[in-house]
């Protein structure tokens, strides 16, 4: 075997391998042993055909093809060892000639990273405080959810809920005809038609009204834009929304003793959400600036794999798989090409982040120890049923690996954010 290799762009190595006759012969024999049992030649029982007759029968090319199928992977692994190349994925192999067999393999190798001076990154963390105003707003929403409807004997106002019989005609054809339809009268509503709710205001129970409305020419839904409808409405009941009073009673319904306690609890949980989001943003920002100052190169196959992963994940959201997904793309007016470009961008960003973070973890000596994984598994199973089964599942080597990876990412992010927030420098002083 003659091997030569040369690095080419994007973290790939071109490997030129030429097989020697003895090697070819060995694999030809192997190919014969494989084929002889499968091919029935007239006049011979399966497995009894001599090599020369078999070659004549199926053709030299097919024979060589079979031989190369085994030979190339073997020679490839041997060549990798010979050249001390660490491949991270399947190579793309191109056969250059048949006799002697010569092939070229493009081997993807580990990405190279030149980290910038990530230790100098400083990022302002912006902490957002939840104000009492925010809490008030949330409580208002709570009250609106808990509102009860009370029939009133007065003309319709905005904010009321009415029942009505409605009949809509378009060019004399009835398109809607419903009895006792429930309708919430909201200002500037587009449902069912623009200005419909305005027409309702001021009507009393039992009132009958005929009017004509049309959609504006530039309406979003093309089928009805500019169309005219004749409507006939008979108002049934008029109901007022009755918001529950904000008192301890209300608080108890939400699981708290007093209004103050409820407010406190809402504030706390809102603050937690905001903090978590802030922390995440901060992590992303830190990582992004680390990525920005780094020089990363990776083989294209990594991107391809990442894209595959994203597509698989996206498709999984649709019960009928790829078909449903394509329909969805159509419904949001995107061609598969647009989508492809979009996820390519995402894949690129994700890869850069992962590679840079991995490198930082390496530089900073971040490691995950076995007991930490145990602790994490303990934490994950706690509070769930059949803990034993879950534990067994998490203790499988693959899931342990993936847990370890997650932990490593978390720890590395922690180290990075400590640096970018200036905490690490303060500690070392």
């Amino acid at each position: 075997m003659k091997v030569s290799s040369e690095p080419i762009e994007n973290c790939q190595v071109a490997l030129n391998v030429e097989a020697e006759d003895a090697e070819l012969d060995k694999y030809m024999k192997l190919a014969y042993n494989h084929l002889v049992g499968r091919v029935a030649v007239p006049g011979f029982r399966k497995g009894k055909t001599p090599r020369s007759i078999l070659e004549q029968h199926i053709g030299k090319e097919a024979f060589l093809q079979e031989a190369m199928e085994h030979m190339i992977p073997d020679l490839y692994t041997e060549a990798l060892k010979d050249q001390k190349i660490e491949a991270i994925d399947q190579p793309s192999i191109e056969v250059l000639q048949d006799e002697p067999v010569k092939f070229k393999a493009i081997v993807p190798i580990k990405p190279t990273v030149k980290l910038g001076s990530y230790k100098d990154i400083r990022i302002e963390s912006s902490k957002k405080e939840i104000t009492d105003d925010d809490v008030e707003k949330t409580i208002e929403q709570f009250r609106a959810q808990k509102a009860t409807l009370v029939s009133v004997d007065r003309p319709v106002q905005f904010g009321d809920v009415i029942t009505m019989d409605i009949e809509a005609k378009q060019d004399g054809k009835v398109v809607i005809n419903r009895k006792d339809a429930v309708y919430e009268v909201v200002k500037d509503s587009y449902v069912p038609l623009p200005e419909f709710s305005e027409k309702m205001v001021g009507l009393a129970k039992g009132a009958e009204i005929d009017f004509v409305l049309s959609y504006p020419e530039d309406y979003k839904i093309k089928q009805v834009a500019g169309k005219e409808f004749q409507l006939k409405v008979i108002v049934g009941e008029v109901k007022e929304k009755n918001l529950p009073e904000l008192n301890d009673e209300f608080a108890k319904e939400s699981g708290q003793e007093t209004v103050a306690a409820l407010k406190g609890q809402i504030k706390k949980s809102m603050q937690e959400t905001v903090d978590a989001r802030g922390r995440q943003e901060f992590e992303q920002k830190s990582l992004d600036s680390a990525v920005e100052m780094s020089d990363v190169q990776y083989p294209p196959i990594m991107k391809k794999r990442e894209i595959e992963r994203i597509v698989r994940n996206d498709v999984k959201n649709f019960p009928d798989g790829v078909k449903g997904f394509e329909r969805y793309l159509k419904s949001i007016d995107k061609t598969p090409d647009d989508y492809q470009r979009e996820i390519e961008e995402i894949a690129n960003r994700r890869l850069l982040r992962a590679i840079v973070l991995g490198k930082i973890a390496e530089e900073e000596g971040v490691k995950v120890e076995e007991p930490e994984i145990d602790a994490e598994i303990e934490r994950m199973v706690s509070g769930s049923e059949n803990q034993e089964d879950l534990k067994n599942f998490f203790n499988l080597p693959q899931s342990r690996d993936s847990i370890s990876e997650t932990l490593l990412t978390q720890k590395a992010l922690k180290v990075l954010t400590d640096i970018t927030s200036g905490n690490a420098a303060a500690e070392s002083k």
Binding site: G43, F44, K48, P50, R51, S52, I53, E55
Partner: protein, 94 residues
């Protein structure tokens, strides 16, 4: 009968391949050919010397096509023995 019509095709089988080691080659030949004719035909076609010719009459086999029974044609097989060391390329493969 012309000499070119005597030898019809080589018979390539497991048994035939084994016999090649002893310098024996099998052919399907015309049903009304004689040993002498076969000898001349093989010598002319393959430029070899034939020392012996054996003839076997191959009976047609009965086959069933649904309800009907058919008999495949009978034919004549000849095994020719060459002088030691001689070979017929036609059988030797690629």
């Amino acid at each position: 009968m012309h000499i070119y019509e005597v030898v019809r095709r080589p018979v390539v089988t497991e048994k035939g391949t084994i016999m090649q080691e002893q310098g024996k080659y099998a052919f399907e030949v015309a049903p009304d050919s004689t040993k002498e004719m076969i000898k001349q035909a093989v010598e002319k076609a393959f430029k070899v010397n034939v020392t012996k010719v054996n003839i076997i009459a191959m009976k047609g086999r009965t086959k069933r096509m649904g309800k009907r029974e058919i008999v495949t044609p009978s034919w004549k097989k000849a095994v020719v023995t060459l002088e030691a060391g001689q070979k017929i390329q036609l059988f030797e493969g690629v």
